[in-house]
Amino acid sequence: MPKQIAIYGKGGIGKSSTASNVAAACADEGYRVTIIGCDPKSDSSITLLQGRRIPTIMDLMREGIDIKEEDIVFKGYKGVKCLEIGGPEPGIGCAGRGIIVAISLLKKISRAIEDTDLVIYDVPGDIVCGGFVAPVKKGLVNEAYVLTSGEYMPLYAANNICKGLSRLEMTLNGVICNSRGALNEEKIVSEFAKEVGSQLLAFIPKDVLVQTCERDGYSVIEKAPDSQIAAVYRKLAKSIMGKREGKIPVPLDDSRLRELTRI
């Protein structure tokens, strides 16, 4: 059984960049990796595909295509299998139902989520409805990670995610800090991780390289393999691929959370 992970965190905090860089780093190590974008804006795999956009499962469904594996799985950097679920246009229909339909389809037709070593589900920042937890509820995710900075709002979101995970009786397997340059950031996030019953796996510095590579359609692993930040992603990838027990997180109460961000 492959390692099946999902990365959660506040909208815009860096989940997709982290997911694609971790995917690329794992592929460098020789792992077979699959990345599944569960965001209607379908931006999870662009940097693994040199900026190319692939047809999404929902695009094909709308066109009435008899969907087969080869129509939706695209090989990106070093053979990483990329899939995008996609969704309706903003403000129309029901994106959550789209995810549910796509996940049941995937379970039926795709070996990409079985014949592989790592599957990463890249979910949108806001788990707005039941549909967006379909990968977890349908048993396709066995490890969850939370990405946050040391600022109050991202931590608040991270804490809410811990609430959701504990409600779903899902384990938290690690916290990742994506730095936004807040004061004492590493210490704050590390403390947060400990208090919810987990640990800080990596501190990713804020580095403009992430954005410039992204603009050209690449991960830093591919475009700037010798950079310092590439080394950080590699280390994180190793840590994710290593064996570690997860624990059902215990969310903090709000006053403790506020206190924490003041240290």
Binding site: G64, I65, D66, K68, R97, I100, C129, G130, K137, K138
Partner: protein
């Protein structure tokens, strides 16, 4: 290259629902109580009817709040209450559009409550083109919980595929819009049928009915045999029925036996068994073969139940009398070449919760017309 599915043509008239199909399938599987996870009014009419057959149907009654906040707690509560109140030996949980769209996991409630009896969960909604999808989903779930065998599952699946095709060819799914029609006047049709019998014409008397509807359709075949007998032409009539009681789910076998016993008691002679009560999509082919071999020179045929599942090959030169319960089936049958089409309105509800043949209007008309003969 991605291959486009052939776009299925639009069908505008309302058709049977997959949710309801799942409910009936659970009944055939001898489920005691089914929980509909959804709005209180969903599938109301059929839920009520199924109680006549001894299966309880309850609802989690999701309302606006349930749609927004999810219905997990409601499902847990209803499941617990069902166990306590009805002490069922087998429970079904059936989804609806509302609960499926918001991503309810039926299994979560089962995991939480941990009933000690089997629970068949069906993640169905009403948005499938063919209602047979609801049957397949219920059977898949029954297979997963070890209630039916792999062989029975495959058999049912093949039959359902045929049933879907039958509807596409000449049934409810054959046209963009089908006008409902009350069919020909029963009195007139009966008059013509009696005329043929009196002329000493040879006739086929075929029952090809879907499951419990046979309780009433069989009455038509019975009446035809009885009036022919009374008029002294009983030996001109050949009876074929889909009442094999060695195939199908327990309820279907039971019903076939009950109808057969009733027919026998009333002196009805079965010349050919053309299949079981769930074999109506294919039993017509068996009948067709027998007719081709033995009766292709017959003058007329009475076909009750699902007449449009009988191939026209060997009967096209006969005068056809068909009896259906679908007002939308009249026009397709006429187009196939059935001369007389009679509709037994509201037949299905009258065949729930019964174990004996139920009198039909057409049967009663025939009997009345030869009363003084």
């Amino acid at each position: 290259m991605p291959v486009k599915k052939e776009k299925e043509p639009l069908i505008m008239h309302p058709r049977p629902s997959s949710i309801v199909a799942a409910l009936y399938t659970l009944r055939d599987l001898d489920t005691d109580v089914v929980i509909l996870h959804g709005p209180p009014g969903c599938s109301f009419k059929h839920a009520r009817l199924l109680e006549e057959d001894g299966m309880r149907v309850v609802t989690t009654s999701l309302d606006e709040t349930g749609f927004v906040f999810g219905g997990h707690d409601a499902l847990v509560e209803v499941l617990e209450k069902v166990i306590e109140r009805f002490n069922p030996r087998r429970i079904g949980i059936v989804g609806t559009c509302a609960s499926m769209i918001i991503g309810e996991e039926l299994h979560e409630a089962v995991t939480q409550v941990q009933p000690d009896v089997p629970v068949i969960e069906v993640d169905v909604h009403a948005g499938y083109r063919d209602n047979t999808k609801g049957v397949v989903m219920a059977l898949e779930s029954a297979l997963a919980s070890g209630i039916i065998s792999e062989a029975e599952f495959e058999r049912q699946k093949a039959l359902l595929k045929e049933a879907t095709l039958v509807e596409k060819r000449h049934g409810a799914a054959s046209k963009e819009y089908l006008e409902p029609n009350r069919g020909d006047l029963k009195y007139k049709v009966a008059e013509r049928l009696l005329e043929l019998i009196k002329q000493g014409k040879k006739g086929l008397n075929i029952l090809n009915a879907k499951k419990e509807t046979a309780f009433m359709f069989a009455d038509i075949n019975l009446a035809v045999a009885q009036v022919a007998q009374k008029l002294g032409y009983g030996s001109n009539i050949v009876n074929m029925v889909n009442l094999d009681d060695n195939v199908g789910l327990p309820k279907n076998r039971r019903n076939a036996r009950e109808i057969k016993d009733d027919l026998k008691e009333k002196g009805f002679e079965i010349h050919h068994i053309i299949g079981g009560l769930d074999e109506y999509p294919v039993a017509g082919n068996t009948a067709d073969k027998i007719i081709g071999e033995k009766y292709s020179d017959y003058d007329f045929a009475v076909i009750s139940g699902v007449p449009h599942a009988l191939p026209m090959n060997n009967i096209k030169n006969m005068e056809l009398f068909s009896v259906t319960n679908g007002p939308r089936q009249v026009i397709p049958l006429k187009e196939m070449g059935h001369t007389h089409v009679v509709v037994e309105i509201d037949l299905h509800p009258k065949t729930l919760g019964v174990s004996h043949i139920v009198e039909s209007e057409f049967g009663a008309t025939l009997r009345e017309m030869v009363k003084d003969a």
